[in-house]
């Protein structure tokens, strides 16, 4: 990245290495960490003692802030969002915050309007509808 000053996630300026890096939604992290934790539980009586503080806090956080719990739903959310040419970062912010209106979606991820491809409101609306359907049938 060319100098710390310029970082601004709202404009999707987060440095090349992170733009390409795979981001994970809270619900995905929750599945992975809970699985890890279960594995530890089988190996030891006191699994919380085995994990780092960072692990513990991350797990607590993603449990509280996962909008989708069921693994199939989690997979579908990523699949639906990836139809809209979003950057990884944008995709995950939308999946985490679950905006309910087009206006809110743009406020949460301003870059979906700024970049060349500029999703139109109808496309965003459709995306949000598809997401709320998953939520409803979960």
């Amino acid at each position: 990245m060319s100098g710390e000053e310029e970082e601004n996630a709202a404009e999707l300026k987060i440095g090349d290495e992170f733009l390409k890096a795979k981001c994970l939604m809270n619900c995905e992290v929750s599945l992975i960490l809970e699985h890890k934790y279960e594995q530890l539980q089988q190996m030891s009586d006191d699994p919380m003692n085995q994990v780092s503080q960072v692990f513990e806090k991350s797990l607590q956080y993603v449990k509280r802030f996962s909008r989708y719990k069921n693994p199939d739903a989690v997979r579908q959310v990523r699949e639906i969002l990836s139809r809209y040419q979003l950057a990884e970062f944008e995709l995950c912010v939308l999946g985490n915050l679950c905006p309910e209106t087009v206006e809110e979606a743009i406020a949460m991820v301003p870059s979906i309007k700024n970049r060349g491809r500029a999703l139109d409101d109808e496309a965003i609306e459709k995306m949000l509808n598809d997401l709320s359907l998953i939520k409803r049938f979960e």
Partner: protein, 261 residues
């Protein structure tokens, strides 16, 4: 934001942990890697190290001359958490001070929201101090707040990040307050429009999860002011369900359930 990263790492295995049997060696490497990973806690570039997911490759071991330990270059995948400037996230308040509040967000404990960056909120002192705005939206301990990151700072000695966040912007603030926006419009129209909204919802939705959440949460603080819609025995189960559904603390559920007009 949680990131999936692939990292090279050097694992040092001491001579006594070396074993001719391959499986045991792999085990020692993994254990050592997990220990190192947990100790490291965070780096400036990648953020906090939450978990190792897979060990992707183990290179040729090299014997270190003076100690006899063997150094294995490995590549593994893991999950890290990093806050970006301009990113919008949810966090939970854990400390309320006179000039602002501290939030917890993922593994980051020091997320500071200054009163200057939530100018419409006023500090209310007391045993459990809170920040309150003129719409009676409350920011206190254990409240979920949606904020934007305006700056981060890496503390090399503590191996930790600090972040400054702000509520200046649309759709930012305490989250239970955010849910209530839909209701705000209806509330402005008076009791009747709220009632018709209620009726509309129950008629339309078979499994009215997220929508009812919005409605009910708002209906409860506004009932008095509207003098119209009172909760009936159908309301409370919904509210409780709502609380459970959004993994808010049980305390909030109780607060709602024990509410009396």
């Amino acid at each position: 934001m949680f990131l999936k990263v692939q990292l090279p790492w050097n694992v040092i295995i001491s001579a006594e942990d070396l074993d001719a049997k391959g499986l045991m060696l792999q085990r020692s490497i993994i254990i050592r890697l997990l220990d190192d990973f947990a100790c490291k806690k965070a780096t400036k570039d990648l953020g906090y190290f939450s978990a190792v997911t897979t060990l992707d490759s183990i290179g040729e071991g090299k014997v270190r001359q003076h100690s006899g330990d063997v150094l294995f270059p490995v590549v593994f995948s893991g999950i890290t958490f990093k806050l970006f400037r301009g990113e919008i996230l949810d966090g939970v308040v854990h400390k309320v001070l006179k000039h602002g509040v501290f939030l917890r967000c993922g593994p980051v404990e020091n997320v500071y929201l200054s009163n200057l960056k939530m100018a419409d909120y006023k500090y209310v002192p007391g045993e459990n101090p809170i920040f309150l705005n003129d719409k009676l939206s409350k920011i206190g301990k254990d409240v979920t707040v949606r904020f934007m990151v305006i700056g981060t700072k890496w503390l090399e000695v503590e191996r930790e990040f600090q972040a400054l966040v702000s509520l200046e912007g649309d759709f930012l603030g305490p989250v239970s307050y955010l849910w209530s926006r839909d209701m705000e419009a209806a509330a402005a129209g008076g009791g009747d429009s709220v009632r018709s909204l209620f009726n509309g919802i129950t008629a339309k939705c078979e499994r009215p999860n997220s929508f009812l959440r919005n409605t009910m949460m708002r209906a409860y603080p506004n009932n008095g002011a509207l003098g119209g819609v009172l909760p009936n025995n159908y309301t409370f189960p919904f509210v409780l369900k709502v609380c459970a559904f959004d993994s808010e603390p049980l305390a909030r559920g109780r607060e709602v359930a024990h509410w009396r007009p």
